[in-house]
């Protein structure tokens, strides 16, 4: 039996009927057509589906949609305000932190939360924060650099 839930995604309120077993990832990708959030494994190993749930990073593949009832959800589609890239997005683009780009949405969400909580992370803190987001293309080098540059840009 479907359940009616309401939640805010990137600031927009939605009311949806969902099956109880539906994951937040499926809700985002299939019901709301927000396909920026990626499914790399479906079982919480890769971090590709990371969204912010009430400001905290969460695997959307291991979060049931009904658990997000009443929550605020932020996805990669919400990062650029009025078409202006966030400083993290800009740094990822300019520093070459994006290759295949499949980990990028999750990586950006994790990094967004990091910089909110800790505006001046050192390299170790950056590496620790993204250690649940796997990337197979970059060796993480340019991702770490981009996050550091974004933090610097935010304080200029």
């Amino acid at each position: 039996m479907k359940r009616i839930i309401s939640l805010a995604v990137n600031g927009v309120e939605h009311e949806l009927a969902v099956e109880p077993r539906r994951t937040l990832l499926e809700l985002l990708r299939e019901d709301l057509s927000l396909t920026g959030t990626k499914k790399g494994c479906g079982i919480g190993d890769c971090g590709g589906c990371t969204v912010l749930l009430d400001g905290v990073p969460a695997f959307s593949c291991l979060t049931l949609a009904v658990q997000a009832e009443g929550c605020s959800v932020e996805t990669v589609e919400g990062l650029a305000g009025n078409g202006r890239l966030s400083s993290l997005q800009r740094a990822f683009v300019e520093d070459g932190a994006i290759q295949c780009g499949f980990c990028t949405p999750g990586m950006l969400m994790t990094a967004t939360e990091l910089l909110r909580a800790n505006p001046h992370p050192d390299e170790r803190e950056i590496r620790l924060a993204i250690s649940g987001n796997l990337c197979r293309c970059t060796g993480y080098q340019k991702i770490v650099e981009a996050i550091r540059h974004a933090a610097e840009a935010d304080h200029e």
Partner: protein, 327 residues
Amino acid sequence: MTLPRFDVLVPETVEQACSLLAEHGGGARVLAGGTDLLVDLKRPIVQERLIEAGGGDPGRFTTLGDGEPGAIDPWGSGDPPPDVLISLHKLAGLKRIEVLDDGRLRVGALATAREIQRVPEIRDRWTALAEGADSLGSPLVRARGTIGGNICNARPAADITVPAICLGAQLELQSPDGSRTLPGEQFILAPGVTVIEPAEILTAVTFPALSARTGSAYYKLGQRKALEISVVGVAVYVELAGDDTVQAACVTLGAVGPTPLAARSAAEVLAGGKPTGELLARAARAAAADATPIDDHRGTAEYRRLMVEMLTRRTLELAVERAGGRS
């Protein structure tokens, strides 16, 4: 992998949660952070069930058909999926972490590893617990995974459970019939099996007050520095007396037995002794003898036993130092 069909019930109070559990009996599972339960519930793609073909021909197999009578399970997957998940996410009271007036630490069952990591008192005093929380999975697992889920999932390698037991965790369990408190070390019976009653919910984990001269540590050994399942985990707790001898000690081992394992002979070696390098080494050897590891694809029993010795010595040295003594 898809999730099987189930209903999700969302109680507003612990009492409601317990009565829902009582109502649904064995067909219900409790959902906390979901980082273990939902993974377990996702069905693998490769057909799991084979049945022996009819006609008494023992050499032949037929693939499955879910729930076919006589299904055998060569892949060893377990119980039938639940009909109902009882999600505790609205029970905000179970998230609270507090140091009680009497000096005990009380951690709500729904406190996440990430929340535990960030409490200064826990880092400072119940250090092994903080280090266990640090070691769990990855930042994303820590943001969802709860102490209650880690304990109730009852895995021998569980990174919060092993130090929690070491630090003398008392588990507060509530059911429609009332509540009870159990020592953590009596809770887990076998992998995935606990003494919890069908209508019971773990609501909080309480840790004894610590004297000034205690120290603890947890070390997780794996192949990479995040997203690991322990090859060996060692938690130790040491309390020193005024004369610098060991007043009390506890060594708890992860991933070297069917449950988190108390290395009792190690604790006996330590009790009353001066925490010299020699004593700690002896205790470490005792811990290795207490371990009952097996060979699996993560490591051999031989390596695990050896690592129990190395890591027990190291964590003991660290704990003694943290207790203000010198090893």
